[in-house]
């Protein structure tokens, strides 16, 4: 069985989930179970199913250059319990460069190896914040092949979208302004600063 584990803290609409949807399409014919580790608590049922997985693909967002803390907490809780043969990782970055996922992928690789698993492959997806609006990253198929063939690749694979960085930056910043307006804010409100003298921080 292959477990596809969404490690985003978001309940719905996570980019980590979108990337797993892309991946799942390439894994037809395999027994697949989807899991969501969006909280600190792993239910006994989920744990039971997870322990049956021989291959696990974790998909998660990059948080401050590393693993999101609730996800790291879950990895700690699962130490010595999960015995997968192979572990794969997808880390999506809000930044343009997929290579910024390298430290988070490295931590996941060390965790996998400490569980005596083989780390199969790691994808660093740049501009991951736009996964639901963008076409499927070409490297997803590469990962699917590695999962299907139980094959380990030597390096992490980084992806950045097929449009320039300035366009991603401009679009993402426009997106923030749009969301701020929806919340009744003006663009300059985004610059709010903490004032230690203020009574209402």
């Amino acid at each position: 069985m292959i477990a596809l584990v969404n490690g985003s803290p978001k309940k719905n609409g996570s980019n980590s989930g979108v990337l797993l949807d892309f991946l799942e399409k390439h894994l037809a014919g395999e027994e697949i179970l989807r899991f969501q580790l969006n909280t600190w608590n792993i239910s006994p049922e989920v744990l039971d199913d997870l322990t049956r997985a021989e291959r696990i693909v974790f998909s998660l967002p990059l948080y401050v250059d590393g693993l999101p803390s609730h996800f790291a907490q879950n990895l700690l809780a699962l130490e010595g319990i999960l015995k997968p043969r192979m572990v794969f990782g997808i880390v999506n970055c809000g930044f343009y460069e997929g290579s910024q996922a390298k430290h988070a992928l490295g931590m996941l690789k060390f965790w996998a190896e400490a569980q005596s698993a083989i780390f199969g492959a790691g994808l660093g997806i740049g501009a991951g914040g736009g996964s639901s609006q963008l076409p499927e990253p070409s490297v997803i198929k590469q990962l699917a092949q590695a999962v299907l063939e139980n094959r380990a690749t030597d390096n992490f694979i980084y992806y950045q979208p097929q449009f320039p960085r300035w366009a991603y930056k401009a679009t993402a910043e426009m997106g923030w302004r749009y969301q701020a307006r929806q919340n009744g804010l003006k663009p300059h409100d985004l610059d709010w600063k903490f004032d230690p003298k203020s009574e209402n921080p």
Partner: protein
Amino acid sequence: MDLILHDLDEQSFSTLPWLNTHIAFGPNTRLHYCEGCFDCWVKTPGRCKLKDEGYAIPHKLSQAERLIIVTKLFHGGPSPMVKRLIDRCLPFFHPYFAIRNGEMHHKERYPQSFKLVFRFYGSAGPAEKDLALGWALAMAVNCNTPQPEVHFYENVSDLVMEVAK
């Protein structure tokens, strides 16, 4: 002022000779993890929606001269406890982007900068230490701070002894 984010028990923490005025957040801090909702960027900019003991962390960071991170190594990264404290710094950053070291990062919300100090403890091989060093350097670029100070110790007693020297 130094801002200390750590995972030491009370006794070890109190043994350390903290020379400067400091504010510390550690295992006794009651805080939820960052859920990545981005309210701190687009709804209540600079402020977290979670009004727990982690709420003040980004505000203290904006006043700090040094950010000192003391953490047990967890597979080449910080411990889940310390990462929880670090992730709650998100309101410190501005949603807009800036290009630094040829990479995209977040624009600063605050003009002033602080110095980063990392004290990792726990037994680890060279590859794991290399990863932790790489993560520390990446964090410094992300925070737009100067070259960080990075130290490794075999265990907490070594850390306490070395820092006390």
